[in-house]
Symmetry: C2
């Protein structure tokens, strides 16, 4: 066998680097899968008054926190050892940012799970559950869509999520207004309905975090920062 | 004059690097100063029904967004060009994370400013303003304390902020309960008091973000990740 040449050594380094990046991607998607599960579990727990399911969400929260810490450390190691440049560096920096959003999605799901326990203690399904079900389906799809957009590096798919976020915000606003009217008509319901309002708020924030992830996907793919940009401007940029 | 030696060349590089890091610190603190101003302005606008002050907060939001983008880019450049290691890399990565928290503090302040405009249209100062004033003073101090802890790299000061956050959360909880009772007694007030609840919620979240910044300061100084840790564990770690 021949001695390893300088070139094969470089190839080896670059293979290791690609493997590091591909592992990083997989870890990110695994963390995303966990928080997605947390959302569906916490909402199911609420709608079915299933307190033991609600309690399992709190347990998953620890794994999510652990994954965030692990991926943060992984990104720091990749930067320190591999000194990535250009699009590789964008991937690593974006991942550092996106896992904060994933972790916050997990936090919001944990809040919903706590409300599920509270509302189940109070008995009887209150108003607003139809809205919770509907908005939760939409934001869960947004989270899963933003993970898909990340996996496929698909900027158009990411843009779709950002568009969806405005539409969910509008639906959230109208749900809040109808629950407020209901509280005025039946003041005895205030405390219970109020808990449902917090749940809707948590869902709305989950949608915001999914949209943040989508913005970072666009940054990774296009190198363009579309945060704080009007949707039409972002569309223009991406179609270029 | 003598030729520049290899050593003076290295010194020159390292001076430039230190200057980069010190500029980064200053930019971070400047962004922090801006969002701190946004909080006080939005709360003053609310308490004094000052709509023009509330509108100025929206204008500041653009500058904050611009600074976030600029500092993000600055961090990427430092990593790509200077390949920082160890504590320097921790500073850069932590800054990338912390400016997301600062930007979100600005977002919450902007929401308070919007509520200020809404509540001023509805006339008459509603219930809960005493609580808003008090909690806003506490979270403003938390934000300014976390910036000081960053500037001085003071882990104990940062820990103080994290401790303060639990106490603010408790005060927030009791304010919410008293406003709920008030709504039940006077259902006509529901819509107005509800806007005050959102303001309190925004303030509580500002406190959370200040505590996040404090956690990153501890990470920068001690290299220890205290997120998701019980306060007693964090105290133990820092005193070591």
């Amino acid at each position: 066998m021949s001695e390893p040449t300088h070139e094969t050594h470089n190839q080896h380094i670059s293979q290791q680097f690609n493997q590091n990046l591909s592992e990083l991607r997989n870890h990110f998607l695994a963390m995303g899968g966990l928080v997605q599960r947390q959302i569906t579990d916490s909402v199911d727990a609420l709608l079915n008054s299933d307190t033991s399911l609600a309690e399992s969400v709190a347990a998953t929260e620890k794994s999510v926190d652990e994954m965030e810490r692990m991926i943060d450390e992984e990104c720091t190691q990749i930067i320190a050892r591999r000194q990535p440049a250009a699009s590789d560096l964008r991937l690593v920096i974006s991942t550092v940012k996106m896992i904060s959003d994933l972790e916050r999605i997990g936090d919001e799901a944990a809040k919903i799970a706590k409300m599920a326990i509270k509302l189940s203690d109070e008995g009887k399904a209150p108003r607003g559950y139809i809205e919770v079900r509907h908005i939760s389906q939409r934001v869960t799809q947004m989270v899963s869509g933003s993970l898909d957009a990340f996996a496929r590096l698909d900027a158009n798919m990411a843009l779709e999520i950002i568009r969806e976020d405005s539409s969910v915000d509008a639906e959230y606003g109208s749900a809040i207004r109808s629950l407020m009217t209901f509280m005025m008509e039946d003041p005895r319901s205030i405390s219970q309905v109020h808990n449902v309002l917090w749940v809707l708020r948590a869902l709305e924030r989950i949608g915001d975090h999914a949209a943040n992830v989508a913005e970072y996907v666009i940054f990774m793919v296009k190198g363009e920062d579309v945060r704080h940009m009007k949707i039409a401007e972002a569309e223009q940029l991406i179609s270029e």
